[in-house]
Symmetry: C2
């Protein structure tokens, strides 16, 4: 079966045998597609019919407002899904664009089929729903986390709060972040040059060290617990 290895590696389908996967793929009317870096996987404002599951690579969830400001909502990695909450809320269009940040393999699933109790009763559909639930819970937590960074009143606290949370997640003061400086600025909704400036200062002051996407939190200061 096509891409079974990747599918098996995701949280959603981890439990499934190849046979079960095949049944569900039929049930969810899945399609596969590979995208190059910077290609649009889904487009903000277009009719929403599918939920996207990242099988290989990664992608940014990006939102552009009416003034053209780009905001990176979050970064999706292998195994993450986009569009589940919209499917449940019965949105008719995509609220964001999904942009591949490298060569990325995506599986699309019919959103209606996914959230509707299966008449065929493909055996593990319930379990899929349960896994989706856990993923939605995690997404919720990620968003709450992001909100705590964005709630800080200056760039320094925003970025330190962000770095601190990554450090905690990775259980180390040495860690890699998924963004370059420009992207991080969009993620935190601050000016790129101002962020670059602040990072320089933090480095000069010996609070952090970094090189490309590799960071080291030296003094955690007030963010200690």
């Amino acid at each position: 079966m096509e891409h079974f290895t990747e599918l098996k590696a995701t949280k959603i389908f981890s439990f499934s045998s190849e046979f079960e996967c095949q049944a569900m793929m039929f049930c969810f009317k899945t399609r596969f597609k590979t995208f190059d870096k910077n290609q649009k996987i889904v487009s903000q404002g277009e009719p929403m019919n599918d939920v996207a599951l990242i099988l290989k690579g990664s992608a940014n969830v990006e939102n552009i407002d009416s003034l053209g400001n780009i905001s990176i909502v979050m970064r999706l990695k292998k195994g993450d899904v986009y569009g589940v909450e919209s499917a449940y809320a019965r949105d008719d269009v995509y609220k964001d664009s999904l942009i591949a940040t490298e060569k990325t393999l995506v599986m699309f699933m019919d959103s209606h089929r996914l959230i509707t109790p299966c008449e065929n009763r493909c055996k593990r559909h319930d379990l899929v729903v349960k896994n989706l639930m856990r993923m939605m819970a995690e997404s919720n937590i990620r968003l709450l986390d992001k909100l705590t960074h964005m709630a800080k009143k200056n760039i320094r606290d925003k970025v330190l709060s962000y770095l601190y949370s990554i450090s905690q997640k990775q259980q180390s003061t040495y860690f890699e972040i998924p963004f370059n400086v420009t992207e991080l600025a969009n993620y935190l909704s601050v000016d790129r040059s101002a962020l670059s400036n602040e990072l320089s200062k933090l480095k000069k002051e010996g609070l952090i060290d970094y090189e490309k996407k590799q960071y080291h939190l030296i003094k955690k200061d007030k963010y200690d617990e």
Copy 2:
């Protein structure tokens, strides 16, 4: 049965008969409690054992960071729940405090019982899970919505984005918001006096009108679609 009317009015239990409710209440080890205005319903950092369901009244989800800054994460109304995503993520402590904003009746449900498939197989447990799922999807969307407001680079755009989204939701340019100015400032993470000032300007310029919590969007300008 105690509080059946209120329970029946919530999304989670809307389908249930009094008998079924009673069975589930046993299953979820529910407890009821009434809180006065400004009383803490759950406390940030304390052990998390229960999911809270608002049956009457309303409450703020508030987060205090290590520097003492208060941030209002969201406002919960009748029928809303707090803690589902934490329950699924198996958090051991509450990440926020829940503060009653008026006299509020809360039902607590054992979080472990809630997310664990029921051995007793109380008939509608699956349906409850499905409803929780929809609520989590909605919560997700609310958070995404809030992020778009917070992503704006100045107060004016933040508050206009917020007001515009409420207006859309209520399908009218006349609407009521759940926050007073001080609370709205905490919700949007901006200085209260700066927000008050900006609102005054917007009123002077004829873009909006307001009185207490009643607002009127006059010109939607660039936020039009």
